[in-house]
Symmetry: C3
């Protein structure tokens, strides 16, 4: 534990043996200008060769430090824009213009990352040179034809943990988003939250919840009906909110969280909705509302981050209605420090008012 | 004494057992949006409850670090804008929405500051949780009906000491403000300055001073007459310039200096003027001139601060005509290091040319 | 060798027993507002007295730290803009307004720099208070009437070494400036580079080089003819590219490099051209092209610097076609660490493709 330094953001757990989304498939066109992305603050050059294969390397030419993403794709190689050095998808140096003789030598290679494409997303394994031992997360409803699936990219000034906690937190919605889908009122409902934590995920089910107040819920379920609601975090970067209202409405908003740096998080959102309403009606209403809610979250996340930076610490004081956030932090901390999955399952039931 | 670090501003004395002005009374309306202010770099949330009582706490919710000033006033409480936690003027936690059971616990409190309102100013005791042992400064002429009193807020990029020295320094006026109320000339007047320093204040009286050159003086005292002139610093934040010209003109420009941070100072100026001239004539001339003079001071204070930052040190070389500045620094340093008032009085007389 | 700190630029060699250009003669007018310039990050006040003599001092008044360049020239003195202290070209304090008695005392002096003017440039010896043991660099063709000499000031975000290497590097031109005066192609020419390094300079002659591709070369030498080409670095700040095409065209682009700070370099370029073409035709074509080439270099130099800053290191991997850059760095490092000239000469011949 480092001593807090006012003016400096506190350290966060970095889970490096993991897949993170660095782009959507459609952003990475064959032979086009490479993309410069960032993971935990380190720049990564992403490109797709003319053979259609995506590749990723540390974004720094070993020759003169210039970002390789400043260059261009030549065939399947990435060519540096300064002196024209070329690298293949394995990071090997394939050409040094002007030089007679062999280009590839150990000191002239660039570290490369494993890349996997799935469901329209480009996943990169966070440790360069390492082989993944698991597959990237698969979104359960994203490919089902009976669901309307909408994708969005967003970015927030907060750590992966702060953003995940915010996405899966119920009590703040009546205040930060007051009126949009919950509100503070004198007559609150007492409900139960049933929480289950394994090594790889924490899930919270809300029991007895009334249909949420507000426009969105009224649109989705005009007749009311039983509400089912789960908040879920899957290690190390998936936050998922699942709502059922009545038998016909099912809404799963999943987000893959990418730590651009320790305190900036990019959200690749995959929202799948099954409803009786015509999607032509739903979309123009739901998307602007979702964006407005996100903007409010982004404002408070930045305030939270700037405050942590000012004081040099994250001084959380949690209560039992902070349901999933503290579990997320605990799981991230254990994984970041190399702790092994214990296999045990933890469960609890909490009463709260919403 | 720390070693200088080029690029870093040198440390300054922080006098924390003291009152500073954080707002004017009219800025803090009952039940309105809280104010975020800063003292020696630390954020303070100021609000006025619906009962009219002003309160101040550290601007950081103990729950998730978000500034409480982002929230709103509910009754007499300050409510956090993220999860709706509520605090009273003593910093006690009075409500945690969603949570069943008692809200207030030691770890959920927020540190609060003593607040005092007087003469239209909101004073805050700089040490949270502490009880003041003195009263805030009272401005002698601000309430007198025979004086016209004008208030202004200004801000300068310099330490409290640099700003106070600048406000009370005579020699610079002929150069930085050349022509506005003094000027450099071949025929200078030799005068005496009589200085007296106690533990709590330093005062300099100028004897034999001719009527200042320039427009302001000519307006105030068209017929000339005896000039009396005092420069005064009252610990730890009051700088006061007092001028008499003839028997009928009396001008006291007092400034309460608030260290927004170590190297940014806010000035709450309280200027009281008694003159035979109609105030309708004086005001449109004096205020723009005062602002122009302040702008020139602000430029040089920022240059001074940036230069100290570049070199990492404040390398003052004072002479005997730097009359009050070195005494101010000495008093601030002693108070900041917890030195006790000695009770002794120091006096000196210096000859100088103006 | 310091450990790399991510986010901090790596240290560079500082050669302080040397002349650097701080201004052009025409910028420094007698009695006019002083200039504030910077050398290795330290501010220098430059002024020309009414007697026409140029002078330079550390840009910080010993009294209250304010930059002296904020003031004005009075006669031959530099007068501080805050309290009017005056200094002569030797840094002695000649006047303290308001003070009775002698102004000059050791603690009131300001460190001064030796200044030399030559060929329209104002050179300053980088160590204050020291006497130079050599003369400033003289540009061989700048005064010859048969040459057209054009001067320009440019600035790049890179260390003196990075900018010098870039200016004297051949292989990058076919990529960064592809098409402007060289291009990458399948049919490259094998040539020889003959390099000679003494203690004070490194020079590379290219043998067998075809006329460069592109517009500039075609304009200068429409009929072709033998190409002679030298790249030259003279310690510690002169980069020179010399081209001959046929017997009538001779082009020498010399640049005096000034380290504004460790990672920002100002270029005082002195380009001399002798050609059969009418200069009225050459100038409107050559200057915009030169600027376009420089803009491309400036972009890559900034990317290189920002990348070094991100990783906290300059991790160069040179090959034998990095001809002069590594020698420049070696010479700068030896001079910065106080190493004595050895007197030995190093030569080598390298084959490369252009």
């Amino acid at each position: 534990m480092q001593a807090p330094v006012p003016g400096q953001l506190p350290p966060v757990p970095r889970v490096l043996s993991a897949w993170y989304v660095l782009a959507e498939t459609h952003e990475l066109r064959a032979g086009a200008k490479p993309l410069r992305r960032s993971l935990y603050g380190d720049p990564i050059a992403l490109w797709r060769g003319e053979d259609g294969v995506a590749a990723a390397v540390v974004d720094r030419c070993p020759h003169r430090d210039v970002p390789l993403s400043f260059g261009q794709v030549r065939g399947n190689h990435l060519q540096c824009g300064y002196h024209g050095w070329e690298f293949d998808g394995q990071g090997a140096c394939k050409r040094i213009p002007s030089l007679l003789g062999e280009a590839d030598r150990p000191g002239r290679r660039v570290a490369r990352f494993e890349v996997r494409e799935q469901q329209g997303l480009v996943w990169v394994w966070a440790t360069p040179g390492a082989e993944p031992d698991v597959d990237p997360h698969r979104f359960l409803y994203a490919d089902k034809p009976e669901y309307m699936t909408v994708r969005m990219q967003l970015q927030a000034d907060g750590s992966l943990h702060s953003v995940a906690e915010n996405a899966l937190d119920v009590p703040h919605t009546a205040f930060l988003h007051g009126g949009l889908f919950r509100k503070d009122s004198a007559t609150r409902n007492r409900i139960q939250a049933s929480l289950r934590r394994t090594t790889e995920m924490v899930e919270c089910e809300y029991i007895g919840e009334p249909r949420p107040e507000g426009l969105v819920a009224r649109l989705l379920s005009p007749s009311g009906g039983l509400v089912t609601h789960f908040d879920r975090f899957v290690m190390p970067c998936i936050a998922e909110v699942e709502y059922g209202m009545g038998t016909e409405n099912h809404f799963v908003n999943a987000v893959a969280l990418t730590p651009v740096d320790d305190h900036v998080t990019r959200l690749y959102s995959v929202s799948s909705l099954r409803t009786r309403l015509p999607t032509l009606l739903v979309r123009p209403v739901v998307q602007p509302l979702a964006l407005r809610i996100f903007q409010q979250d982004a404002v408070v996340l930045k305030l939270q981050r700037d405050s942590m930076q000012h004081f040099g610490t994250a001084r959380y004081t949690s209560t039992e209605v902070d349901l999933v956030g503290p579990h997320i932090l605990r799981m991230l901390n254990r994984a970041a420090s190399g702790g092994q999955p214990s296999g045990e399952t933890y469960t609890t039931v909490v009463e709260l008012e919403v």
